[in-house]
């Protein structure tokens, strides 16, 4: 299995944001996060309160990956939906494509059935956009030219406080 790099151009980001916002409106979810299965966040919507998107992405991708591995042990290709029910808020995770998952955070203002219904449509729409983005050139505009040694040094210079 080959994992491909991903680039999200500004026009694609706007289209993805629009789809996620429509999903929030239709499903009454609190927040939606688009996460690469390697754990990296791609887009978010509705995160009114501050969420630690980086940590959520890493943990959700790990949970989804380990569940997929479990599914394979049981002879399934994967479990395409994950649902974690909390006291106040719950989490619904569904497959967008081979590399991407959609996280929906919701509370008692909606139901798992509504979330599932609209998540399916959203995954399909976002998947179509991502298929287009994967075909676009990666390094354009200011990133088209190779870095200078100084640029590389500064971008990789982690220093203790």
């Amino acid at each position: 299995m080959r994992i491909h790099d991903l680039v999200i151009h500004e026009s694609d980001a706007a289209r993805i944001d629009a789809v996620l916002l429509r999903f929030l409106s239709d499903s009454s979810c609190l927040a939606a996060l688009l996460i690469d299965r390697s754990g990296q966040p791609l887009a978010e919507a509705g995160t009114a309160r501050t969420l630690d998107v980086g940590s959520i992405g890493a943990l959700a991708a790990a949970a989804f990956s380990s569940t997929a591995a479990l599914a394979r042990l049981l002879g399934e290709s994967e479990f395409s939906v994950l649902f974690h029910e909390g006291v106040k808020e719950s989490l619904h995770v569904s497959t967008v494509d081979d590399n991407t998952i959609l996280l929906a955070i919701f509370d008692e203002r909606t139901t798992i059935g509504m979330v599932r219904l609209f998540a399916r449509e959203t995954c399909s729409s976002v998947g179509a956009i991502l298929a287009e983005t994967r075909a676009r050139p990666r390094l354009v505009g200011v990133l088209a030219a190779p870095l200078t040694a100084e640029e590389t040094r500064r971008a990789s210079d982690h220093r203790p406080a």
Binding site: S38, D52, L147, T148, S156, H158, R159
Partner: protein, 202 residues
């Protein structure tokens, strides 16, 4: 697998600290987390067993100065080193851009290091990657202990590919070699992604 987001002006890379159990992978991340300024780090997450052995992974997002108006984020992960957690190691390697191989320098841990190195190569292949073309560095850890193998011998065991990769002596618990290791693998990942001008290589 790097992700470039032109809208958010963020570039994400994934760096995995790999190696046998108890080699010091988590100690590397803990030191980085302890020492980096608040602005350059996120929360560190450790999924560990009751006795502090890594069960799934440790995760720490860090960033340095950006490039051309983009923030460069490096998501640092460790894998569980224990042999029987191979399926988990494979999951953590998904989408990796750079690898730090952490080896325990002690004589009686060398066999584990060699086995883990082979295991890394095998697991990368599952994702269509080759160690030779994946940016990686080797860290010989625990150099402060008594019964450690000499550097030449460690290099002979672990750094014998067609092109030798950067290698560092380290004592991760006190930070020796930790940032040299991180900065070098970060640089290699950036150069692989963007290339570097000819004059700069001189």
């Amino acid at each position: 697998m790097s992700i470039i987001n032109y809208a958010a002006r963020v570039i994400n890379f994934k760096v995995v600290y790999y190696g046998p159990g108890l080699a010091g992978k988590t100690a590397n991340l803990q030191y980085i987390h302890r020492c980096l300024p608040e602005d350059n780090k996120g929360k560190m997450i450790s999924l560990a067993t009751g006795d502090d052995r890594t069960l799934f992974f440790d995760f720490l997002p860090v960033s340095a100065t950006g490039v051309r108006g983009f923030t460069t984020r490096f998501q640092l992960y460790t894998v569980p080193g224990q042999t029987h957690y191979n399926m988990t190691r494979k999951l953590v390697l998904r989408g990796v851009d750079g690898v730090v191989f952490v080896a325990d320098s002690q004589w009686d841990r060398l066999r584990d290091a060699v086995e883990s190195f082979r295991n890394l190569d095998d697991n990368l292949k599952e994702y269509g990657l080759a160690l030779a073309t994946t940016p990686h560095v080797i860290q010989y850890n625990k150099r402060d202990l008594g019964a450690v193998a000499p550097l030449d011998y460690l290099e002979y065991l672990l750094n014998r590919g067609a092109r030798r990769v950067p290698a560092f002596e380290a004592v991760a618990v006190d930070g020796t070699g930790v940032f040299d290791t991180l900065n070098t693998v970060s640089r290699m990942v950036l150069v692989k992604e963007f290339g570097q001008t000819q004059e700069a290589r001189a």
